[in-house]
Symmetry: C2
Subunit: 799 residues, 2 copies
C-alpha cells in the first residue's frame, strides 16, 4: 500500500513508451537531486536488455561529482531486450532451470521493502526515483501491466513524454491510463525536438488540465569512441543543470519538491478542515471533535484504505500512510475491493458514450441490459417482470412501498383516509433506509431519528439464529412461546437453513399457530390495517446483524399469503399482502447467495437491490416487481402511473458498472477460492450446504466459546459477534471499546502482512451497539481473512 | 452526430501510434472487403507526409483486381510528414497565404457529408473505412486530438495495434483513450512480430475484456526497385487473403460484419425489449405500449442524443441514427452537454484512486474540497458552515427537513405528538422530490402520488412573473388581493428582479400585510403548527415552471423571520422558522445565477443543491446548513445526532465530478458567449441586469404575442411557454400536442444544421401539462439556440 515519507520524496517514473529517454531524464533528475539534496536513491525494480551500461550503472557514472550520496539498486535484471514478462521467460529457458516468476504480491513487496529500507537509512531530506520498465502498460514479470502492478504503492509519478512523431498521442494516452488508476501525475518531462515540437503542444494541452510539463534539450548522438562519448554525455548532463533553462530539469525538480510539500501539508490539514466543514452521516459530532478522531483516507486499493498514520508526525522515518483493512466493506458496498480497474473502465465507457441521458420513455443499452439480467438471470428470475431504477436502497424501498400500498389499496378500494393509515407488517429490528417514508415502515424505538417519524404497522419479534458456545441455536422470544424466551439447539447450520426439511417440525407449528393468531387479532384492531409485508430476508443488518430464523420468515409469508379471503386473485397475482423483500444488504452474494428466494422457497412480489449492485462504486438501486404489481398502475390516465423518478434515474454509469459487477460476480463465485470456502462449510463430505461463509468454521466455533462473547453468527462475507453487555442497544459503545486495539497495526512491523506491499495493517470496523461486525469483499484473500481472525481473536482475548 | 447505415458498414481506423502499419492494414481490410462486397469506400480525411505514394493511391494500386468498386478520397492533404496541426501551419507558412484552419465543426461536417454521400451512392451491401491520422490522440487540423474530433460521429472502430517493442503499452493505452470517449472497439488488428510477440500477449489480455484481436504477418522489407517492390507488396497482400490464416484479415472482416449485424439487430430490438422489462419513472405505461413510443438513445454528445431514426427501416439509405436536441437537459441535469471528457476523466480519476470509501468519521480529498468550495466560494458563501452529502435532490431535501424540524422542535421543546404533526410553510405548486417525507412538505392535490402522502403544513398561493403579450407582468392571486386576480405591469424584467428597489413599492406593502395576517391567523389554528419555511426560490420547476414574484418570497422570509416572539435567538441564529432553500433545480447557474440568495438579498438557514452539481453525470446532493442548525444536533449523546446516511455517502466519483463541474462553470460563466448573452438582456447600455437569459429577448417578446401563447418566461437556460388551455394542469397533454412536430428533423435535409456533423435534428422536449419548457446546457451554442427558437416558433405558428 501507499508509502509516503516526510524526509524522503519518492517519485515513480513512468514512460509514455519504450525508448523515450526515461533513463536519461531520470539520470538528469537524479543528478539535479544530488546537486541539492543530502541523499538520492534510484531504484530500477526490473531491468531488461544489454545496454552498454545498465541503467543503474549509467546513473552511477554520470552523477560522479556526487556519487557518494547516490544509491542505486536493481532488483530483477535480465539480458534480453524485451518486455519483462518475456525476458523472465527467456532467461528461464536459457538457464534451463524453471525459476519461479515472482507474483505481483512478491514483486510489490520487494519494491516496498526496498523503499522502506531507503527511508530508514536516510535521516535528512532525500529524494528517490523508482523507474519502471517500458511504457505504462508494458507487462511486468508476472504479465500484469506496470500501472496495475505498481498501483498498490500509489507513488506520485513523473511521466516521461514522447518527443517523436506520434508522441503527442502516446503521451496523452499514457497519461490517461495513469489517471484511470488514480495516479497523481506531478510532472510530464520530455525532450525538445525542434521538428515535431511535441513539447509545445503538450505544454499547452496539459496547462489546461493543471499538469506541469517540463522539457529539456535532447542528448547528443552517441559517439563511437567510448571516452569521447563519456565526455560528450557528461557535458550534456552538465548543461541541463544550468539554472537559466526556464522550464528545464531544475524547475522540474523544484516543482516536484513543491508537490511533495503541498501533499504533506494537505494530508496534515485534512483532519482540521474536515472537522470545520463536514457534517458526517450517523455521527455525533459532539463526541468527535479532535483531529485524531478523523481517519484521512488518502487512497484505497483492494480491501484496504491507505490512511494517514495517526502517529505520523512523531516519528519521521516511518511512512505517513499505512494500510487499514476496510472491515465494514465501506458500509457494506465493496464487492471486489476498491479501485478494481474493470469497474473504473466500465464507468469511463458509459461516461464517454452517454454521460447521463433521459430515461422516461427512452432507453439505453446499459439500463436495458441491467434490467434484463436482473429479471432473467438474477434475483428476479422466475417471478419479476419489471425493473424500476432509483438512486439508493432507501429510495428503492420508497418505490417498493408505493407499489405495494397502491396494489393493496386498489384491490380493496380504500378511500384516501384509509390509504394514509395503512400499515406494514414487519419484524422488530427492521431497517429500510433513512428517508422518512421507509422509516415509517419501521418501528419507532427510543432512538427515533426524525420528528416526522410516524411508524405505521405492526412489527413481530422474530426468533433468531446464532452460534452460542459452539452450538447453532434458535432463540424464540417470549411473545411467541408465551412462556419465556426459549432456545432450540439445531443439528447444524446447514440443517437450520434447510427450510423444506423444517416445515414439518414442531417449531414450524408453533410459528404457524402464533402467526395465524396474531394476524387474526390484528384484523380486529381499529388502528391497524396492514397493506404490505416488508422483510429483510435472513439478516436484519442495521438493526444489529440479527440473523432471523429463516423458518419463521417462510411461515410468515405462507400464513400471510394463505390468509387472503377478501379477494380471489388469479394464481399469478399477489395474495394476502404484497410481499416486499428488502435485499439491499443481503442480496447479490453478500451472505453467500444471489438472492434469498431459493433458500426460503418463496418469491416476493417486489424486491430491492442496491449496495453490491454497483460493486461498491456509485449509488444505484433497482426495485423489481412482478407483473401483477405492474398492472395495478396501468390505465389510460397519467395520474394512475407510478409518479416517482429521480433526475439521474438509470444513469448510464451506474448501470454499466452494475452490468460489469454482475458479470464479474459470476466469475468470482465459480472461482477455486470460493469453492474451497464453500467446501469447508459442508456438513459432511459430499453433502452440499446451502449456507456457508468465507470465515473459518473452526474460528467461528472457538469465538462462540469465548468469555466476552454472547454469541456469534456468519453467512457469506459477514461475521457478527455479539458481546455480553447489560447495557446493549444502538447507543452502546461496548463493541467499539473491545476492538479499539485492532484499529492500528500491531507494533511488530518486521513481519510482513498480507496487505499489498506487506506493511502491517490496522482494521477499520463498525459496530452496532454491543455487536461488532466484520465484512470482507467477495474476493478477500484467505491470507487476509486468517490475519483478521487472528486480530479479532486477540482483541477478544484481551491480548 | 452518429452515422449508421444498414447497407453500408462503416468502421473508423485508429492507430495505437504513428507508424504501426495503419495504412497497410487498412489496405488489407479494403482488399478483403472488395473481395466480398459490392462496393468499398475508403476515406482518409487528413493526409500528411510525402510518401512515395499517398495512402489513398496506395489503396487504389493494391486493390487492382477490384478497383472499379473501390472508391477512395482524401479531404485535406499536406506534404509535411508531421502531425496535422503542424502540417496545416507549415503549409500556410510556405504558401505565404493565411489559409483558414478548418474548425472542428467544419471538419467533422465535411467527413460526415462524405460518408452520407457514399451511403447514398451505394445501393447494395458495402463497407467503408475512415482512416485517422497518427495515434488516437494525435492532433487534428485545429489541434483537437483525433479521438475528440471524431467523437461526434461515434463510428465503431478498429484499433491498429503496435507490434514493436513497447507496443503492448501503447496499444492498451490507446484502447483506454478510446474507451474514455465511449467508442465501440470492434477489433484490434496488428502485425505478428516473432521477436516481441505482442499479438500473443494482447490476444490474451483482450480476450479477458471481450475484445477481438486479429494479427497478420508483417509486410516484407520495401525493395529499392519500384517494380520489384510492387510485385513483392502485391504478393504480400495476396497472401493475407488466403483463407487458412485462422485469425487473419478474413476472420477480422467476418468479425466486423458480425459486429455490424449485431449492432443493427440490437438497436432494432431495444424498443420491444424495453417495453417488456423496464418500468419507467413518471410514465403511464398504458399510454405507451408500442415500439414507436420508445426513444432509443444509442449515444449522446454535446447537447444532442443520437437516437434510432423512427422511420429507419423504411428507407435504407438514410442513417439509422439521427441527432435529437436534449431539450430538457435530461431532466435539468446537463451542464456542459453530454460526455464532456473532463468530467469523464474526473470520474475515472476518483474511481482509480478511491472507488467509494467509507465517510462517517473519515475524510477524502474530493469530498472535503467540494464541501469547502460550496461553503467558502459557492452557494453557501457567507452563511453556511457545514455540508451534508446524500444521493439526490429528494434525499437532500429529506435531510434539510430533518434539520429544520429538529431545530424548531428543540427550541420549542415539542413533545413527540406535536413533532409528528409539525407542518411546513410553503407555496402552492412546490415540489421537493418523490420520497414520501418531502412529498409531505408539499400539498396534496388531485394527483396525489402515494397512499401515504399526508401533506403537513400550509401553502400560500404565490404571485407570479411572466411575459404576456410583450409586457413583464406580475399576476397576484385573489387570495392576496381579496378582490379577484390582479395583474401588475412591470417596467422591465431587470426592474422586476431588483428586490431592494421594490421593497418600498405598493405591492410590497400588500404582500407584507397579507402575509402578516395569514401567519397570525395560522397561529390560531389548532391543526397547523409550522416548523419550517420551505421554498424553491424564484422558480418552482416541476410544479409547472412557475416564476414566483421574487418580491413575494423576500417579504415572506422577512415576515417569518420578524415574527419570532417565542424565542430570543442570538443574531447569528435562525429566527421565526428555519428557512430552507430548495435550489436543486434553480441552483448553480441553471437560471443564470449561482445561488438565488444575492438576488433575494437574504440567505437561507439550510439549502440543497443537486442536478447541475455533478455536471449531469452521476447522482449526488449536498445539504448546506448554517452553524446554528448544526449546533442543534451537538451533544454527547449519539441519539441526538443526525442519524441519516446512505451507503454511498459522499462517493468519491460524485464529489470529484462535482469539483470539476464547479471549476468548469467558473470558466464558462466568464466566457465571451456568456457575457454576450448577458449584455443582450441589459435594460440600457452600460446598465447591468441581475437577470438574463441565453434565449433571445426579441424571440421571447415575439412568442409572448402569439395567439396560442398565454405567457412566456425565461431566466438563464430555461424557457417556459404556457399555452392557452381551458383544461390545464399536470395531466393535460396540450403542450405536448402542440410541439409534437419538432420531435423529428425537418424534411429538408439539404441544409446543414448546427448539430455536430450537420445532420438535421429533432428536439426532445418535456411538458408539464399546458406548459412546454426548453432547457439548454450552459454551453449550448448561439447557432443551436437560434435554430431551436426557429423550430419553436414554427410549431407555435402551426407551420
Amino acid at each position: 500500500m501507499s508509502l509516503l515519507f516526510k524526509h524522503l520524496r519518492v517519485h515513480q517514473v513512468f514512460g509514455a513508451n519504450t525508448d523515450v529517454g526515461k533513463t536519461i531524464l531520470t539520470t538528469a533528475l537524479v543528478r539535479a537531486s544530488a546537486f541539492t539534496k543530502s541523499g538520492v536513491f534510484y531504484l530500477k525494480p526490473v531491468s531488461t536488455g544489454s545496454m552498454d551500461v545498465a541503467d543503474d550503472e549509467h546513473i552511477k557514472r554520470y552523477t560522479a561529482p556526487w556519487s557518494d550520496h547516490v544509491f542505486t539498486e536493481c532488483l530483477y535484471r535480465y539480458q534480453e531486450p524485451v518486455s519483462p514478462h518475456l525476458a523472465v521467460k527467456i532467461a528461464a529457458e536459457e538457464s534451463g532451470q524453471s525459476q519461479p516468476i515472482p507474483t505481483d504480491e512478491t514483486f510489490v513487496t520487494s519494491v516496498a521493502n526496498h523503499i522502506r529500507e531507503c527511508a530508514s537509512k536516510t535521516k535528512r531530506t532525500s529524494d528517490m526515483y523508482v523507474e519502471t520498465a517500458g511504457g505504462v502498460h508494458s507487462p511486468t514479470l508476472s504479465g500484469t501491466t506496470q500501472v496495475e502492478a505498481y498501483r498498490p504503492l500509489f507513488l506520485p509519478t513523473v511521466l516521461i513524454g514522447d518527443s517523436k512523431l506520434g508522441g503527442i498521442s502516446t503521451t496523452i494516452s499514457a497519461y490517461e491510463s495513469l489517471i484511470l488508476r488514480g495516479f497523481i501525475v506531478d510532472s510530464i518531462l520530455l525532450f525538445r525536438d525542434a521538428y515535431y515540437r511535441n513539447w509545445e503542444y503538450l505544454q499547452e494541452y496539459f496547462a489546461d488540465r493543471g499538469v506541469h510539463v517540463a522539457s529539456v534539450e535532447a542528448p547528443p548522438e552517441p559517439l563511437a569512441n567510448p571516452s569521447e562519448n563519456f565526455v560528450s554525455t557528461q557535458r550534456y548532463y552538465d548543461s541541463l543543470l544550468v539554472p537559466t533553462a526556464e522550464d528545464g530539469i531544475l524547475s522540474a525538480l523544484q516543482h516536484l519538491d513543491q508537490c511533495h510539500v503541498k501533499r504533506l501539508k494537505e494530508i496534515d490539514s485534512m483532519p482540521r478542515r474536515t472537522l470545520d466543514s463536514i457534517w458526517w452521516p450517523f455521527v455525533q459530532h459532539g463526541l468527535f471533535k479532535e483531529e485524531k478522531d478523523v481517519t484521512v483516507i488518502d487512497s484505497a486499493y483492494s480491501d484496504y484504505f491507505s490512511i494517514r498514520t495517526p502517529s505520523a508526525s512523531a516519528s519521521s522515518q516511518t511512512s505517513l500512510l499505512q494500510p487499514q483493512f476496510d472491515g465494514s466493506a465501506s458500509w457494506w458496498t465493496q464487492t471486489f475491493g476498491h479501485t478494481h480497474s474493470s469497474l473504473t473502465l466500465a464507468a469511463a465507457r458509459a461516461a464517454g458514450r452517454y454521460g447521463h441521458v433521459m430515461f422516461p420513455r427512452a432507453t439505453n443499452l446499459p439500463a436495458l441490459k441491467l434490467a434484463e439480467t436482473l429479471i432473467q438471470d438474477g434475483p428476479g428470475k422466475g417471478w419479476a417482470s419489471r425493473a424500476f431504477f432509483s438512486d439508493d436502497g432507501s429510495t428503492g424501498m420508497e418505490v417498493a412501498l408505493k407499489m405495494a400500498l397502491r396494489a393493496f389499496s386498489k384491490r380493496h378500494n380504500l378511500d384516501r383516509a384509509s390509504q394514509k393509515t395503512l400499515g406494514v407488517l414487519g419484524l422488530k429490528g427492521s431497517y429500510h433506509g433513512d428517508t422518512i417514508g421507509v422509516m415509517d415502515a419501521c418501528e419507532e424505538d427510543g432512538v427515533y431519528t426524525c420528528e416526522w417519524h410516524n411508524a405505521k404497522g405492526f412489527w413481530l419479534e422474530p426468533p433468531s439464529v446464532s452460534i452460542q458456545n459452539g452450538e447453532v441455536t434458535v432463540t424464540v422470544p417470549d411473545s411467541i412461546t408465551k412462556n419465556g424466551v426459549k432456545t432450540y439447539e439445531m443439528q447444524s447450520l446447514s440443517w437450520t437453513y434447510d427450510i423444506q426439511g423444517r416445515l414439518s417440525s414442531e417449531l414450524a407449528t408453533i410459528y404457524r399457530n402464533y402467526l395465524q393468531a396474531t394476524l387474526e387479532s390484528l384484523k380486529n384492531k381499529d388502528n391497524i390495517r396492514l397493506g404490505a409485508l416488508v422483510l429483510e430476508p435472513l439478516v436484519m443488518g442495521a438493526g444489529g446483524m440479527i440473523f432471523v430464523d429463516p423458518l419463521f420468515q417462510r411461515v410468515l409469508i405462507d400464513v400471510v399469503r394463505n390468509s387472503d379471503s377478501s379477494a380471489t386473485p388469479s394464481h399469478s397475482s399477489w395474495s394476502g399482502l404484497p410481499v416486499i423483500f428488502d435485499e439491499v444488504f443481503v442480496g447479490l452474494h453478500r451472505i453467500g447467495m444471489e438472492s434469498t428466494s431459493p433458500l426460503l422457497g418463496v418469491s416476493p412480489d417486489i424486491s430491492v437491490n442496491a449496495k453490491i449492485l454497483t460493486g461498491g462504486l456509485v449509488p444505484l438501486a433497482v426495485t423489481l416487481a412482478s407483473n401483477s404489481i405492474f398492472e395495478v398502475f396501468l390505465s389510460d390516465n397519467k395520474a394512475d402511473a407510478l409518479l416517482h423518478g429521480h433526475s439521474y434515474t438509470a444513469h448510464a454509469i451506474g448501470c454499466e458498472v452494475a452490468n460489469e459487477t454482475l458479470s464479474l460476480i459470476k466469475k468470482v463465485t465459480s472461482s477455486a477460492d470460493y469453492v474451497y470456502a464453500q467446501q469447508r462449510w459442508q456438513p459432511n463430505p459430499g453433502e452440499a450446504s446451502k449456507v456457508w461463509s468465507l470465515w473459518d468454521p473452526n474460528f467461528i466455533d472457538a469465538v462462540s466459546k469465548m468469555e466476552k462473547v454472547s454469541d456469534v453468527m456468519t453467512l457469506g462475507t459477514v461475521l457478527a459477534i455479539k458481546l455480553k453487555d447489560d447495557n446493549a442497544g444502538y447507543t452502546s459503545h461496548s463493541a467499539e471499546a473491545v476492538f479499539r486495539t485492532i484499529l492500528s497495526p500491531e507494533e511488530d512491523n518486521k513481519t510482513l502482512s498480507s496487505s499489498p506491499g506487506g506493511a502491517p495493517f490496522g482494521v477499520h470496523y463498525r459496530t452496532l451497539g454491543n455487536v461488532a461486525y466484520f465484512m470482507s469483499s467477495l474476493t478477500t484473500s484467505g491470507a487476509t481473512l486468517r490475519t483478521l481472525e487472528d486480530k479479532i481473536w486477540k482483541a477478544l482475548a484481551g491480548q
